[in-house]
């Protein structure tokens, strides 16, 4: 499909900006495993503090990169499947808000005035520019979503009896989840934190802020994941040379995510005071519900791949696997997506452990948690972003991929790295190793009284895996920027691989409409979250004044200083 010069430039900008920042994010990823393994016993390197680096790593990799990518991929998907380009004014506004917001937040973090980590738990206070910048990034992504919703409604009016393409359902479900969940974090940031960080209000209800954050924070992980799911369903079977086993499974999975992604956020707060055990247990059980679409996906994708491999002459119960195109340069996306799925087997299963009520006591805030989420967000999510960003840049600019052989190896190298890294972190976590801690200063410093020899091997595994991940990331930058700055050899286009369905899909109206699902989503969210918010408001005894991370005394309002 031909794309206008305008849309091409927007998508390229939405890929180039976050990937450029990702170089900072990945550098700090490497630095953390070095600090944590006790290779260096320092608070900072090159004037960048450990916790400042951790904030940069989390915000850039998990919020900036993922949001920009979801919007860029959404533009491409909507334009490709509905044959209608987004409104230029809305799209420009969205892009400007996102870029300016990101620059504000990045400036606050790089100047060291926002070392509050990506969860920005009050009463640790960041510079107001950090909060305002993050809010602008989110609001920019809303503008793109509203525009797509208008395009969809118009398209549907003209195509009442045609099944909406699965990729479009996935994109709209994803951004509906995103819009609803970010309302809570926008409220937290704009109403609670910005006035408080400017000294206009004296205190903030910390449990309420945490509850609003996790209303957003767990749905966020599905916002990361659904673009990958769209690729698994609509592209992977075609890349493998076969067909999608069942398109219905994809529709069921997406609508289940829509209703269950948000009302489970309290499973991040099992350790928190003020929130009752009944709500914690309810939301733990709801989390098992949101695992079901992933089980369906695992099976449907495996069946689609098996079908493709058998078409290519694969035999036996499992020997067909070797017929899949693991290292083929023309379908390099296959390598990125299949490695993501392999990591997600472990990521998904360990996620069930984390969300399982009392089991959470074993792992909560230990390094088991980053071990787990590097198997998800640094697995299927990140690999799909890497692969698709190279794919889109190559097609939109009409340039051949730079170092195509290296490009096919990157996802395998990355996967090996993540598996070693996560094994180390999860093992250490089961031995009590804390996350978010500069262990090189104390727990892994033989000169310290707090030296803890049990964590030497686990954190060394983290270092080894992290080093391999860094090398894979570095190679990706070479391929991405190498492709970007090559000479154009073909016209600009978007041409996604499109999987056909194996069985003919009948249109079932319930799975081609949003209204009943949105209603159900609203009801479940209200039932799950009203008691949690009410507990946070009623059981919290006092509000907290702001603190700098470096100072145990609170920042007093200007008139009391």
């Amino acid at each position: 499909m031909n794309v206008s010069r305008f849309l091409k430039n927007v998508i390229l900008a939405e890929l180039f900006v976050p990937v450029l920042l990702l170089t900072i994010g990945i550098y700090h990823g490497l630095m953390q495993v070095i600090y944590r393994a006790g290779v260096i016993h320092q608070a900072s390197v090159a004037k960048l503090d450990y916790y400042q680096g951790l904030t940069l790593h989390g915000v850039i990799n998990a919020v900036v990169l993922t949001t920009f990518f979801a919007v860029a991929f959404g533009h491409a998907t909507i334009a490709f499947y509905l044959k209608k380009e987004p409104n230029p004014r809305a799209t420009t506004l969205s892009l400007i808000l996102m870029v300016v917001g990101t620059l504000l937040a990045a400036a606050a973090m790089l100047s060291g005035k926002a070392s509050v980590l990506y969860t920005f738990y009050p009463p640790l206070k960041a510079h107001p520019a950090f909060y305002i910048g993050t809010a602008m990034l989110i609001i920019g992504s809303w503008v793109a979503y509203w525009d797509w919703a208008v395009i969809y409604v118009r398209w549907k009016r003209e195509n009442r009896d045609i099944n909406t393409p699965l990729a479009v359902i996935g994109t709209l479900v994803n951004f509906t989840i995103w819009f609803v969940c970010t309302l809570a974090v926008a409220y937290e940031v704009l109403v609670l934190l910005v006035p408080w960080s400017l000294g206009w209000t004296a205190g903030v209800n910390v449990v309420l802020a945490r509850t609003l954050f996790w209303f957003f924070g767990h749905a966020l992980v599905y916002f990361w994941l659904l673009p990958s799911y769209i690729m698994f369903y609509t592209m992977l079977p075609k890349l493998a040379g076969g067909k999608l086993y069942s398109g219905m499974a994809g529709r069921i999975a997406f609508f289940m995510f829509l209703i269950l992604s948000i009302p489970i956020g309290v499973h991040h707060q099992f350790g928190d005071p003020s929130i009752g055990r009944g709500i914690k247990l309810t939301q733990s059980i709801l989390t098992f519900g949101v695992a079901i679409p992933s089980f369906i996906t695992a099976f449907t994708i495996a069946a689609s791949l098996e079908y493709a491999a058998r078409l290519r002459g694969g035999k036996g119960l499992y020997r067909w696997i070797w017929k899949l195109p693991f290292f083929r340069k023309d379908v390099f996306l296959f390598g990125y997506l299949i490695n993501g799925l392999i990591l997600f087997i472990f990521g998904g299963l360990t996620g069930l452990v984390n969300a399982s009520y009392s089991l959470n006591n074993v792992v909560h805030n230990t390094s088991f948690i980053p071990g787990h989420f590097h198997l998800t967000v640094a697995g299927p999510v990140f690999l799909a972003i890497l692969g698709m960003s190279i794919f889109l840049v190559s097609q939109l600019t009409g340039k051949k991929i730079f170092l195509p052989t290296i490009n096919t190896i990157i996802p395998y190298l990355w996967t090996v790295g993540v598996l070693i890294f996560s094994t180390g972190l999860m093992w250490g976590g089961l031995m009590g190793e804390p996350r978010r801690t500069n262990m090189g200063l104390t727990y892994l410093n033989p000169a310290s009284e707090q030296y803890h020899s049990y964590w030497v091997i686990s954190s060394m595994l983290g270092l080894a895996g992290g080093g391999i991940m860094f090398i894979a990331g570095f190679l990706y930058f070479i391929v991405f920027f190498g492709t970007f700055f090559r000479k154009q050899t073909a016209p600009s286009t978007i041409d996604f691989p499109v999987s056909e369905s194996l069985h003919e899909e009948k249109r079932i109206p319930l799975f081609d409409t949003f209204r009943p699902w949105l209603l159900l989503m609203g009801i479940i969210i209200l039932m799950a979250y009203l008691p949690a918010i009410s507990d946070a408001l009623n059981n919290t005894g006092r509000k907290a004044p702001p603190y700098q991370p470096s100072d145990p005394t609170p920042i007093l309002p200007k008139n009391e200083r």
């Binding site: 219905m248 499974a249 098992f288 099976f299 500069n438 005894g541």
Partner: protein, 150 residues
Amino acid sequence: MIDKFERNVIITALLVSGLFIFSLFYAMGAKKADVTECLPYDKSYETARVNQIDAHTYQIFYVARMWNFEPSIAYIPVGSEVDLFLTSLDVVHGFNIFNKNTNLMGVPGGVSKTTVKFDEPGVYKVVCHEFCGTGHQNMQAEIIVNYPKK
């Protein structure tokens, strides 16, 4: 409407979830494995202290602040059941006892409570596992179980 293998996949996933939920209820009922309890807040929780209720029942009121816990060392006899309370005076802190299922968040304005039984003598290390500022990696405490000697 849906493929029969996919229907079986959904049924299997539901059965496995049911097994997990049943096991969690079993642990809660028979072994008292539970998450942080919610108590109404009261200013008195901001005073760190150890109370002995009877020979084998203790209460420890922990107060977390940047960057230590009080009491930083608590002595408990072997075989005691201890009610732990935790609050914070400043920012959010974490509280994890090694090799125990005690995993609390210390939040200003809130009280976290759990109950833990110490059957084995030893020095139980406690680390803060939530980022609480530049001194976070120094923040720890100890519970010494073997006191008085038996």
